[in-house]
């Protein structure tokens, strides 16, 4: 008997607090598996955000620092400049990265910081109870856009992958989804490349992962992934925007 799949050693024994069906769990697994497969887990330092994944520092089986909201790329910069031979990553949600922390991630990319950022985009603020995010879709109802996001009032959602891809120091930028097993496998490949980008000393790497928030979207976990497919993927196209391996 060979093991086809088991819980990754890159995760601790602490059970995840995430809602049933929340794709944070899937994305955590992918990061953990990649770190183990690349043989760098023991040389990794991660930075946790503020958001649903604020407790990520309990789940990854490596040294972790908890950052203030949005500041993870700056914290990661400090760590990486002190330990350039270690692998440093930040794991952030849409409030953390696309709202309060936009300056920090843009400048980490701008400086070509050799860190890897995992950006979990679920078009809403989960932890605080379902408020609008910069990534919330037009017409999407949230607790601070109760009548649906109004483009005239506060614009259309921001596409971070495309934005960061315009920055020269960003050497790997890809948007993936975890709504199907096939997409999960592709997401893992992208996350692996994003860490390889750091290992090879190329520059800033980011993977934007389209994710669900069943609780605040008001759907069952299965229906939430369908909503993601029907509504998020058309607005946030999957694909690679920068790839150091292809000189792109």
């Amino acid at each position: 008997m060979t093991i086809v799949y088991e819980k990754s050693k890159g995760l601790t024994d602490v059970p995840f607090h995430y809602c049933p069906g929340c794709t944070h769990g899937v994305i955590h697994k992918l990061v953990a598996e990649v770190l183990v497969e690349l043989g760098v887990l023991d040389d990794t330092i991660g930075v946790a955000p503020v958001g649903c994944s604020v407790l990520a520092y309990k789940y990854f089986n490596c040294d972790m620092q908890e950052a203030a909201h949005g500041r993870a790329p700056a914290v990661a910069t400090g760590i990486k400049r002190v330990h350039p031979d270690k692998i440093v990553f930040s794991y952030q949600g849409d409030g953390d990265l696309a709202s309060i922390g936009t300056a920090e991630v843009v400048h980490a990319a701008h400086r070509g910081e050799k860190i890897t950022t995992i950006f979990v985009n679920n078009a809403i603020y989960g932890m605080t109870g379902g408020q609008m995010a910069p990534t919330t879709l037009v017409g999407q109802k949230t607790t601070t856009s109760p009548f649906g996001r109004d483009e005239a009032h506060c614009g259309k959602p921001i596409r971070m992958a495309e934005l960061l891809a315009t920055i020269d120091g960003a050497k790997f930028v890809e948007r993936v989804s975890v709504d199907t097993p096939a997409n999960i496998r592709k997401a893992k490949k992208a996350i692996k490349k994003a860490f390889e980008c750091q290992i090879k000393g190329e520059g800033f790497a980011i993977v934007e992962v389209l994710s669900s928030c069943p609780t605040n979207w008001g759907f069952s976990p299965v229906k939430a992934l369908q909503w993601l497919r029907d509504n998020m993927i058309p607005y946030y196209p999957l694909g690679n925007f920068r790839n150091f391996e292809e000189g792109k």
Binding site: E6, K7, Y18, P20, V26
Partner: protein, 71 residues
């Protein structure tokens, strides 16, 4: 003849049913006769002998509930 063996860590399951929908041979269901320590009905395999060890269920599970072995 089963190609694979699937085990569930019942107490880690949150009953989200994502595994149910991704099984290509449709052998996973929530076990409505059981309630785990979290208060959920955990998922389980109903026809183990049909398992093809594709790993879809385990890959999809957000809580690392499932272990898949190839026989």
């Amino acid at each position: 003849m089963a190609k694979g063996k699937v085990t569930f860590n019942d107490d880690a399951c949150k009953g989200c049913e994502l595994c149910v929908t991704v099984c290509p041979v449709k052998i996973i269901e929530l076990n409505k006769d059981k309630i785990n320590s979290k208060g959920y009905s955990p998922a389980h395999v109903i026809e183990q002998e049909k398992c093809i060890a594709c790993g879809n269920c385990a890959i999809t599970c957000p809580d690392s509930v499932i272990t898949v072995e190839k026989l």
